[in-house]
Every structure is written in structure tokens, then in C-alpha cells.
């Protein structure tokens, strides 16, 4: 059954099925019913991680080192646990920035640098070529073994067969042609390949099923279950060592190193980035992948050990353990299972080669060839209207050359290594992207220079410690290079660099290359501040939230310019369609209605980025957009605003609030002070005015007496009387001012005691009796029978009473003046009223009379009757003792000054 032609036909039939699936998925996507819009398909497509390395190589590795094949799958499990953070963020950033590959990602992060994109592409291409070689080796070996059925013959050493008789050569050509047909059927603006993803998910199912069938056959068909397999292994002296791992620091160290390496690779391999990030249709798909992809890895590894043990038990040392998956069914003449195993291996290889070379060809085209063509201003580029054909051509050539380079490496060095060792070289190469990518996602300080230096340093160390030794081992370089070091310098021995021994070559390379890489990345990045472009991209990547990207264009370009540009790269129909969609999104009927604004430029850039990469798209659009230059200061301002100020804003807000309160308080205090100042000025001017009036009359009359000796005695007496009266008024005034000042400043002396208020009132009236009698004023006093005690200063109360009484006396008419004094108890207080029949006080003056130097009546016409301080002082005194003083009056009805004081109940009975 397993003749050559059967194997070939089945292989091509399988490739045909892949085509059909891709075609069907593309059709469904065009119809709006995408197959890959499913988290399960996403998780399955991630299993492109499992290549022939897993399918054939894991068994080989297990046969050599026991459990040593597992770190490669434990690492991705751990990464997926972090996938919730890292992968989702990468997806979000990539979508927002229209990232098309890992080279694009790095270039875009560090200021859209074409140089960086190119460097990443070169590293990826050189680093991944051994990995492609691995697939070619596995497929061609499996084919060679299969067609010699039923004999089990190990294939001849690679590179020994003539080119045209080397099956690997044909495998390479078929894979290249298939990938070209498959992956570059048309130019997609978003660089997404629905059909490819669907086919890859299908391949993941196929290879898992195939491996399961072989595993179940070996475990339960040949042997009697897991326990039986392990029992037999224990019984064989050759195999007991596989049951444990070497218990040494180096062994655990390399275990940890491989785990770490695979953690990085599952994110950074170009094909993983393509599937996990670029082809991701929905960020939420990551949720299921977090556990489904590790579960896939778990399942595909369950039967590795039984197959390895079975192979070791069954075959002599001559059979390569990397082929056990195929040779064990063969040895038992299970043709169907054998063919299925071959298809599983083919599926693993094609999946890897398709995605890897498509991802790499995108990078080569967008980040290497196009920038170079643009830079050289190739005339053809400007002459041709539709460049989409050129882009496709570049990619096709890139795919062909990549697979061919894989074949060349296979011829050169492939046979010196087992499958896994070849793959690990590629892992170590792509691990060099880790500082730039992971650092770029979480650290804003990384600069273009730092990323360049880090990548270069790490890559050079990788070449020196891993790639060149692989050439040396296969005889392409002199062996002295390995044993004696470069130029015979012993410390430069590539796999014991600087004398570091005891590590396996992968751990050794990883240690030195990442040391150099991270060191250079950090060192150079920290040498200077990120410039404006780097800083703005850093913000987009590090602060990626669920929001639209910032409109980075600060000018616009017209549809008339942008549409032809896009047409040249996407093809006229596709470009026109995209622009029409954009116009509809913005609510415009026609494409020509689109304004020449930054948003249109942004849209066009995104569109182009899908076709030629973000760095090239930037350059193309920049040539059209009349952009206002974005100054460093402006960018720094924006960044400051966005990051630093926001971080402190809460704090600042609190502080400014406090400050505002303090300011308000200060302002109030200041206003009060100013008011007081004004009042003091008023007071002083009033006081000096009041003092001058009596002084003037004293002076005038004194001068008259002095200058005129002829004044008669009567006149003289009258004048002297005036002088004495005015002098008295002056001293009274001064006393009252002092008194007032003391009261106001709180420095007045009080002798507080229990005072019988009616007695005080009576005594006051008594003391002024003569004055009233002189003016002919009738005074009536109405006092209660018993004593009413208040707590106050007797002299001060007397002062108040005299004040009120003399005021009343002043204002009553000369003829028929009448003053009534009454003391009454009202509840808990006592009310004293001094009633007169004078002119009364107008309503508006009733409060004014209690102000300093203010008197009732017309100030301009009426002669002043007192100092103007009596009432204010009285009010102060009464208020000091907890009472109040007020006046009730109406013009022409007389005035009634009353004060009220709380009764001091000292236990004495009152009636």
C-alpha cells in the first residue's frame, strides 16, 4: 500500500484539503460569517507552535533525556497565564497601530524607525532559517523512511545525496510553491489571512489526532497501558536513567533556561506573533486560549514518553529516535497508522512553514525591501499606478528564498543536530526580541538607540555562540574555532565564553546574549531622554487602554492625493472600497466629500500600513500631508499633561483647594483690617474735630479777655464762665474717649457685685435733682417696692443712668419738660425706662444715636448737645452685663430709652 506514488498522492490530497478549507473560510469571511471569529479556532491556531519538532522531535528528545522535552511546553503554559496581561496588551496595541508583524511592532514602538524594522527582520530571517530547515529535514526524512516500507532504513546523511536525488530539495520546492499559492493569493489591506488561520486550526486538529492515534497504538496496542510501558522501562537497565533527571545544578539550570526560552518564543516567534496578535480578530478570544492552548500542549505530550520508551525497547541503537513516531507503526506493519503519522508530521511542518514564511515575507517586504525601494526612489515605483502586484511579487520571492535558505542550512548543518537542538537555536535567536518588545510594552524610557544596540549585541552574541559553532560542527568552519577560540584566544571559545563552563550550549548562549542585549538596551536607552517621536509612540504602547489611538497627524491631505496613493499599493478597487467605507462611517455620501483633515490622513496611513508596514506608510503619507511640525516642547507638554500631571493632579487639587481657602480667609481678614483702619481714621478725624470745637471757643474767649482790658466785669464773668464750661466739656470729652477706648479694647476695670438696681436708679435721679430743678423739669420716678438684684458694677450703672437722665434733660423743652423714670420686673429680667417729652428721634436715626460721635437731628443745623459718646458707652456697659439698651420713639412724641438686665437671683426672696 505504501508505494511512492500513494504517499505522494496522499500528501498532495492533504495539501488540497488545506486549500479547500482556506478557500471556504475566505468565502465565508467575505459573506460576513467568519469561521475564525471563534475563541476555539483562535486557541487551535496558536498550536502552530507545535511543529515537527513536537511531532517527531519530542520523542527523540525524550529518548535522550527523559523528561527534558517538557520545558518547551511548560514555558508556553506559564506565558499563557500571563497572556491575560501581555498578549491582550500586544493585541490591543497592534490593532490600534495597525501592526502587521513583530518587526513592525518594534519599529513602530521606537518612533517608527525603518532601521529597527530592518534589523528585526534580518534577525528573524537568520534566526528562523534553522527552524525551517528542521521542518524540511523532518518531512524529507519521514518521506524517505516511509517509501522504503516495509524495511526500516535510516535516510542517508543530508548533504551527501546529489541535489536532484535529495528528497528534502523536492520537499522544499513543494512547500515553497504551496505557501506562495496559499498565502499570497491576494493583497489584504489588514494583512490578515482568514483562510490561512482556518487551515492552521484544522492542521492543529490533524496533528493532535495523528499523534494520539500513534500514542494509543503504542501504549495500548503494542503494550498494555502506561503502567506496562513504564514497568518494562524500569526492567531495562538502559532506560532506568530516563525515569529521573540528573540531579545537578546544571540540569536544573538548563531546565529553567529552556522553560524561560520557550516562554519568550511562544510570543516572539514571527509565526506566533502573526497568529496570536496580527490574526487575532477579537481581544476576548485570548480568554479561552489561556487554558485551551496549554491543554492542547498537555494532550500532545501525554504519549511522548510511551512512544520514546517503546522505540528504545523495540529498536537497536541504529534507528534515530526522532523517527520513532513513524517507525514504530511501521515495525508493526500498521500501514494506515503509519500513513496517518506521516500526514500528522506533514501537517505540523506545513503549518509552521506556511505561517512562518508568510510572516517573514511580510516583514521582508514591509520592513526591508519597500523602505529600501522608497529610499532609492526607484523610478518604477513612481511610474506604476498599481503597486499591489509589486508587493505580492516581493512577498512571493521572499517566501521562495526563505524556504531555499532553509534547505541550504539543512544541507550545511542540519545533520549535525537532532531536531530539537536546531529548533532551540531559533528560539534563542527570537528571544533577542524580548527586551525591545516586552520592555517597549511596559517601559517608556526605551529609545530607538537602546533597542538597536540591544538587538545588535544580543544577535552578535547569538551568532558567535550558537550559529557559528553549528557551522563548525558540520565542517563549514574549522574546528579550531570551537576548541581554541577565535584567533586562538582561549577565553573566546564560543561555547565556553570567558571561561564559563558547565552549561549546555543553549543556556550558555541565552545567558550571554540576553546579558549583552538587556545591558545594551538599558544602557543606551538611559544615556538620553527619549525624543519626541519615541516618547509619543511609547505613550501609545505603554499606556494602551481600550481607546482609539491618538490622531498623530497635525495636518491633512486631500482625497485626490491619498486615494491614488492607496490605490497604487492596494489596487484601485480595494482602495476605492476602503475609502467609500470610511466616507460612509463619517456620514458622507461621496468619497470626494471627505475633508482634507488629519483623520483622513490617519485612516490612509492605517490602510497603507496594512500593505507596506507602518514605517513605510508613515513616510508615504508624510510626503503628502502638509504637516505643521510637532515641536519637541509640544510633545513634551502633551506627555507631561498626560502622564505626570495626571498622576499628581489629585494632590495638586487638594493643595489648591487648601490654598484657595487660605486665600479667602486672608482676603476676609485683610478686608476687615482695612475696614478697621478706615474706622480708626474716621474716629481720629472725628475726635480731633470734637476736641477742636470747645478748644476754639476757649481760645477765642481767652484771647478776647487778654487783648481787651476794657471789658466790663459782667462781660468778663460771662466769658470766663464760657471758658470754664467749655474746658469742663473738653475734659469730659477726653475722659469719655479714654473710657470708650478702654471699653473697646477690653482693658476697662470692672467691679462686679450684686447691685440693687432700683436703689441705683433712685440715687442717680436724686443726684441730678438740682439739675432738673434748675431747668424746671418735672421728674417722676416709679420704683418697685422691694429690691431687684442684678450682677453688675454699681458705678458703671450709675454712669449709664446719669447719661440717660442728662440726655433726657437736654432734650426736653425748657417749658413744661417732663421726664419719667420707671423700673419694672419682666420675667427673669428687669426693665429700666427713661421717658422724656422732647422732640423724639426719627426712625432712621434710632440706631445711629448709639454710634460714636453721632447725634440725633440735623448735624449741620442743630447745635450739638453732648459729646456723642455717652450712648455708645452706655450701650457697651449694658451689653457687658448681658443686657441690652435701645430706644423707642417717634418724632414729636418724645423718646423712651430703655435697658434690660438679667436679674441675679442670689436666693433672696423677691416679691
Amino acid at each position: 500500500m505504501l508505494q511512492d506514488w500513494v504517499v505522494v498522492v496522499v500528501s498532495f490530497a492533504y495539501l488540497g484539503v488545506l486549500f479547500a478549507i482556506a478557500y471556504w473560510a475566505d468565502r465565508r469571511a467575505d459573506g460576513g460569517r467568519s469561521v475564525i471569529a471563534s475563541p476555539t479556532v483562535y486557541a487551535l491556531s496558536l498550536a502552530v507552535y507545535c511543529t515537527t519538532w513536537t511531532f517527531y522531535g519530542s520523542v527523540g528528545r525524550a529518548a535522550a533525556t527523559g523528561i527534558g522535552f517538557l520545558p518547551i511546553y511548560l514555558g508556553p503554559t506559564l506565558t499563557l497565564a500571563l497572556g491575560w496581561f501581555v498578549m491582550r496588551k500586544m493585541v490591543r496595541v497592534a490593532k490600534a497601530n495597525r501592526i502587521t508583524s513583530i518587526a513592525d511592532f518594534v519599529a513602530s514602538r521606537y518612533g517608527k524607525s525603518q532601521l529597527l524594522g530592518g534589523l528585526v527582520t534580518v534577525i528573524a530571517v537568520i534566526g528562523v532559517i534553522p527552524y525551517i530547515a528542521l521542518q524540511l529535514k523532518a518531512v524529507s526524512n519521514s518521506f524517505t523512511i516511509l517509501i522504503s516500507y516495509p524495511e526500516i532504513v535510516m535516510p542517508a546523511k543530508g548533504g551527501t545525496a546529489p541535489l536532484l536525488q535529495d528528497s528534502a530539495f523536492y520537499v522544499a520546492i513543494i512547500l515553497a510553491v504551496f505557501t506562495i499559492l496559499f498565502g499570497t493569493r491576494h493583497m489584504d489591506a489588514t494583512e490578515r489571512h482568514e483562510g490561512m488561520v482556518a487551515a492552521i486550526a484544522f492542521e492543529s486538529v490533524v496533528k493532535l489526532l495523528a499523534f494520539f492515534v500513534v500514542g494509543i497504538f503504542v501504549t495500548y496496542g503494542i503494550y498494555d497501558g502506561f503502567v506496562d510501558v513504564f514497568d518494562r522501562a524500569q526492567a531495562s537497565a538502559r532506560l532506568t536513567s530516563l525515569m529521573t533527571t540528573r540531579d545537578s545544578a546544571a540540569s536544573y539550570g538548563s531546565w529553567a533556561a529552556l522553560t524561560f526560552l520557550s516562554m519568550l518564543s511562544v510570543l516572539l516567534l514571527p509565526r506566533q506573533f502573526q497568529i496570536a496578535v496580527v490574526e487575532n480578530v477579537d481581544e476576548s478570544h485570548v480568554r479561552r486560549a489561556v487554558w485551551l492552548f496549554p491543554l492542547y500542549l498537555f494532550l500532545i505530550n501525554i504519549f511522548v514518553l510511551p512512544i520514546a520508551i517503546g522505540g528504545l525497547l523495540r529498536f537497536p541503537a541504529g534507528v534515530d529516535a526522532d523517527t520513532f513516531v513513524l517507525t514504530l507503526p511501521m515495525a508493526h506493519h500498521e500501514q494506515t497508522i503509519t500513513l496517518l503519522a506521516f500526514i500528522g508530521g506533514l501537517s505540523a511542518a506545513t503549518g509552521m512553514v506556511i505561517v512562518e514564511t508568510i510572516a517573514l515575507s511580510t516583514m521582508v517586504c514591509n520592513d526591508l525591501v519597500m523602505p529600501a525601494l522608497l529610499r532609492m526612489r526607484v523610478r518604477a515605483l513612481h511610474a506604476r499606478h498599481d503597486l499591489s502586484g509589486l508587493l505580492l511579487g516581493i512577498r512571493r520571492w521572499a517566501i521562495g528564498i526563505l524556504v531555499l535558505l532553509g534547505y541550504v542550512y539543512f544541507r550545511a548543518a542540519g545533520e549535525a543536530y537532532a531536531l530539537v537542538s536546531i529548533g532551540l537555536m531559533s528560539f534563542a535567536a527570537v528571544a533577542q526580541f524580548a527586551p525591545a518588545v516586552i520592555g517597549g510594552l511596559y517601559w517608556k524610557g526605551g529609545t530607538r538607540g537602546g533597542a538597536l544596540a540591544g538587538l545588535l549585541a544580543g544577535f552578535v552574541v547569538w551568532i558567535y555562540t550558537l550559529l557559528l559553532p553549528s557551522f563548525a560542527k558540520s565542517g563549514w568552519l574549522p574546528v579550531e574555532f570551537m576548541t581554541g577560540g577565535l584567533f586562538g584566544i582561549d577565553v573566546l571559545r564560543p561555547q565556553q565564553l570567558f571561561g564559563l563552563q558547565g552549561l549546555d550550549e543553549i543556556t550558555h548562549c541565552l545567558l550571554w546574549s540576553l546579558l549583552a542585549n538587556i545591558g545594551a538596551y538599558l544602557g543606551v536607552s538611559l544615556a538620553r531622554m527619549p525624543n519626541a517621536g519615541e516618547a509619543s509612540q511609547a505613550t501609545l504602547f505603554v499606556d494602551a487602554k481600550e481607546r482609539d489611538s491618538v490622531a498623530a497627524w497635525r495636518g491633512g491631505a486631500a482625497v485626490a492625493e491619498l486615494l491614488p496613493l492607496a490605490s497604487r499599493f492596494l489596487g484601485p478597487d480595494r482602495a476605492r472600497e476602503a475609502f467609500e467605507r470610511h466616507a460612509r462611517d463619517r456620514g458622507l455620501a461621496r468619497v470626494d466629500d471627505l475633508p482634507a483633515d488629519a483623520r483622513l490622513a490617519q485612516f490612509a496611513e492605517g490602510l497603507l500600513a496594512g500593505a507596506i508596514g507602518s514605517a513605510s506608510a508613515r513616510v508615504m503619507i508624510a510626503s503628502l500631508v502638509q504637516e505643521e511640525p510637532l515641536g519637541l516642547d509640544e510633545v513634551m507638554d502633551i506627555l507631561d499633561e498626560a502622564s505626570q500631571v495626571r498622576a499628581h493632579s489629585r494632590e495638586l487639587e487638594e493643595k489648591s483647594l487648601e490654598l484657595e481657602q487660605a486665600t479667602a480667609e486672608l482676603r476676609a481678614a485683610n478686608a476687615q483690617l482695612r475696614e478697621l483702619d478706615r474706622m480708626k481714621d474716621d474716629f481720629i478725624s472725628t475726635v480731633s474735630h470734637e476736641l477742636r470745637t470747645p478748644l476754639t471757643s476757649i481760645r477765642a474767649f481767652s484771647e478776647m479777655l487778654l487783648e481787651d482790658p476794657d471789658i466790663g466785669l459782667d462781660e468778663r464773668k460771662r466769658f470766663l464762665g464760657i471758658v470754664v464750661a467749655e474746658a469742663g466739656r473738653l475734659s469730659r470729652l477726653i475722659n469719655q474717649i479714654l473710657d470708650m477706648a478702654r471699653l473697646e479694647s477690653g482693658r476697662a476695670e470692672w467691679t462686679t457685685e450684686s447691685v440693687d438696681l432700683p436703689a441705683v436708679v433712685g440715687a442717680s435721679v436724686e443726684s441730678l435733682g438740682q439739675m432738673f430743678r434748675d431747668k424746671g423739669v418735672e421728674v417722676s420716678v416709679d420704683l418697685p417696692a422691694g429690691p431687684i438684684t442684678v450682677f453688675a458694677d454699681r458705678d458703671r450703672l450709675t454712669q449709664v443712668m446719669i447719661n440717660l437722665l442728662s440726655n433726657a434733660q437736654k432734650f426736653v423743652p425748657d417749658d413744661g419738660g417732663c421726664v419719667a423714670v420707671a423700673v419694672r420686673r419682666t420675667g427673669n429680667s428687669v426693665l429700666v425706662a427713661v421717658d422724656d417729652n422732647g422732640p423724639g428721634i426719627a426712625a432712621e436715626d434710632r440706631e445711629l444715636v448709639f454710634e460714636k460721635f453721632r447725634q440725633g437731628g440735623n448735624v449741620l443745623t442743630d447745635k450739638p448737645h453732648g459729646t456723642g459718646l455717652g450712648l455708645p458707652i452706655s450701650r457697651q456697659i449694658i451689653e457687658y452685663f448681658g443686657g441690652r439698651l435701645w430706644v423707642e420713639s417717634a418724632p414729636g412724641q418724645g423718646a423712651k430709652f430703655q435697658f434690660m438686665l438679667p436679674i441675679h437671683d442670689d436666693g433672696a426672696p423677691t416679691t
Partner: protein, 67 residues
């Protein structure tokens, strides 16, 4: 948002747990030539811990993350 943060924290914790389980020194404890139910201890341990970790990860994202 709160729940999603909880999911993130659980996954971060599981990541650390995985780093611990699959490395020296815990790994060395199981690196013995003994069998558990006929399976070598080291394999039983690594595969068992691996599966447990995957189950926990599945529980963390699928049950905790629904808003």
C-alpha cells in the same frame, strides 16, 4: 472592571505558582526513582501539576471573568 482585575490577579498568582512547581527546588523533591501507581514519580508529578495548573487557569478565566 473589579472582576477583571481579580481574574488578572488570579492568573498572575497561577503564573508564580507554575514557576514554583516546575523548577528547582520543588522539582528536585520529586526527582526520585519511585513509582506512583506504576508511573515514575517525576512524570506523575510534572504531568499532574501541569494539568492542575491548566484546570485552575480555566476556572480563573472562564468563571471569574464574566461581568
Amino acid at each position: 472592571m473589579m472582576r477583571s482585575r481579580l481574574v488578572a490577579q488570579r492568573l498572575a498568582a497561577l503564573f508564580l505558582l507554575g514557576c514554583l512547581l516546575f523548577n528547582y527546588p520543588l522539582l528536585a523533591l520529586f526527582n526520585r526513582d519511585i513509582e506512583v501507581l506504576g508511573i515514575p514519580l517525576l512524570y506523575a508529578y510534572v504531568f499532574g501539576a501541569w494539568l492542575a495548573l491548566i484546570v485552575l487557569m480555566a476556572l480563573a478565566v472562564e468563571r471569574g471573568g464574566r461581568p
